[in-house]
Assembly symmetry: C2
Homo-oligomer: 301 residues x 2
């Protein structure tokens, strides 16, 4: 267990907690690469395990981390390892990965669903795994996607449990603070319900909008609709036109919460549709005033 | 009737068609102000009728048009008048406005629904009204909202009828071409169905998503969801958090088409929800691949 005195900045805290050990990253895609770039800029030593030789070459060219290799031994000195893997690989870790994680290291992840991740990893790293989820992203993926400052000002959920030591939590909070993100503590179950609402439901709602245009039977009208689509349509359909594999991973590993919020979404849409059918324009206006106020509160606080 | 020889550029065509008469604008909000700024930059003479003295003052300060007044007589020399009014005022023109439109002028509009506009204006200007709808916008409104280049590369729907003369159509096409927009010809009915799909349906779909978060009964989860909402949620909810009055005007004046596409939307969402409930991940992935391909085709051609 690393001892970790309180000091004045997240970066100083991180240095104290790590005691000169490097931060290890597993995977150098958008999230892993972005963490690497920021830590290198801060002068925090970094090592990374990559899956493919091509990723290693490109990561060296881009200078994503100090040391990168396909050899799991690269992680052996790490004081903290962040698993930056796609959800399917995170949920079915290879024996090679499990044995490459050094005994002294706290392990965390960046997966977008937390219940199944905790179920898989709490057994593998009893008391030394903390689930994490940075709420930052672009549509880019792969070793060229990482960018500096990706986490600046963004929320980063942590799902510590009763088994988590305060020293481990302090270390991970220091890392997140050094990256400029805001820690939000929650249970894995609450996290999964919340992201079903604001992240997974929007994907299906948005995809259904695209399907509605695609299934328009009148072909001239469909072509006209495609020609007239403007920035509002582009924004509303962005996440529904995103990475299909990612959408399926989210839906399959958060199915229960997603079905719950889909049910509530249907009720919400019914209410608005009823107001239109019944030509109740004043209540519709009031409803749209409420949604505008809610969005202003959430999106531009 | 203005005669209108074909020449080499939209701007030259516009000048020939106008025969030194100015373009008249009624209303100097986002659309009217943006048309004015571009025409002034092109050296095309412009006059504008504004509703309020304060708008006249501000329009003069901003140099939106050559001449602006609250006196309807300002329009008397215009060869083409574009009504840039909110839908409700467009659909119930005052006697003062109707009598201010000079006999020689072609009249067009920029309203977001075309059936009711044609019904109101074809009687008022027999054979000399062409419905129009530029697909360009920002969230800004009012006399400070107009900006140069707003229509560059954007579609601009025109709903000419059998009563439209080719000279009138040529004049309006020249204006739109000079503003850098692309003319798309369609019937009012097809236009209203198409914008129900890509403009009015997204407002309700997006508003329902905000309502779903707002109606989450578990308050800690609702607060967590609001904290974790990221750029995907912001994009998907932008139009649902837009101007409530505009949303109601669109819904009320395009109710029939909106209800039709809402019905189809429900089917599309049902299909996706069934795939999730039945854990049919390969078909869900195929569906999301289709929506991604469709969006790429529509949004980034």
């Amino acid at each position: 267990m690393v001892s970790c005195p309180e000091s004045s900045s997240p970066l100083q805290n991180l240095r104290s907690c790590l005691e000169k050990r490097p931060v290890g990253l597993v995977g150098l895609g958008l999230i892993g690469g972005s963490i690497g770039l920021d830590l290198k800029a801060l002068g925090v030593p970094t090592v990374a395990l990559a899956h493919r030789a091509r990723t290693v070459d490109r990561a060296r060219q881009r200078g994503l981390v100090d040391v990168v290799s396909t050899d799991p031994a690269v992680l052996r000195e790490a004081g903290l390892v962040v698993l930056c893997l796609p959800l399917d690989r995170l949920l079915a870790p290879t024996p090679q990965l499990l044995s490459a994680l050094p005994r002294q290291a706290l392990v965390s992840d960046v997966g977008s669903v937390k219940g199944p991740v905790l179920a898989a990893w709490q057994a593998a790293r009893p008391g030394r795994f903390i689930g994490g989820h940075p709420m930052a992203g672009t549509t880019a993926a792969g070793v060229d996607a990482g960018q500096p400052g990706l986490f600046q000002g963004r929320p980063w959920a942590l799902t510590a449990t009763e088994a988590t030591s305060s020293a481990d939590l302090h270390l991970l909070e220091a890392l997140i603070g050094a990256l400029g993100a805001r820690v939000i503590h929650c249970t894995a179950q609450d996290h999964d319900h919340a992201v079903a609402l604001v992240s997974h439901l929007p994907v299906l709602v948005s995809a259904a909008l695209l399907r509605t245009v695609a299934s328009e039977q009148n072909q001239p009208i469909r072509h006209l609709a495609e020609s007239l689509a403007s920035s509002g349509f582009a924004d509303t359909t962005r996440v529904g036109g995103g990475n299909p594999q990612l959408g399926v991973l989210m839906a399959s590993h958060n199915r229960y919460a997603l079905q719950q919020v889909l049910h509530h979404y249907r009720d919400s849409l019914d209410t608005l549709e009823d107001l239109v059918r019944e030509e109740r324009w004043d209540p519709l206006c009031a409803a749209l005033q409420q949604t505008r106020a809610l969005r202003q509160k959430i999106v531009s606080p």
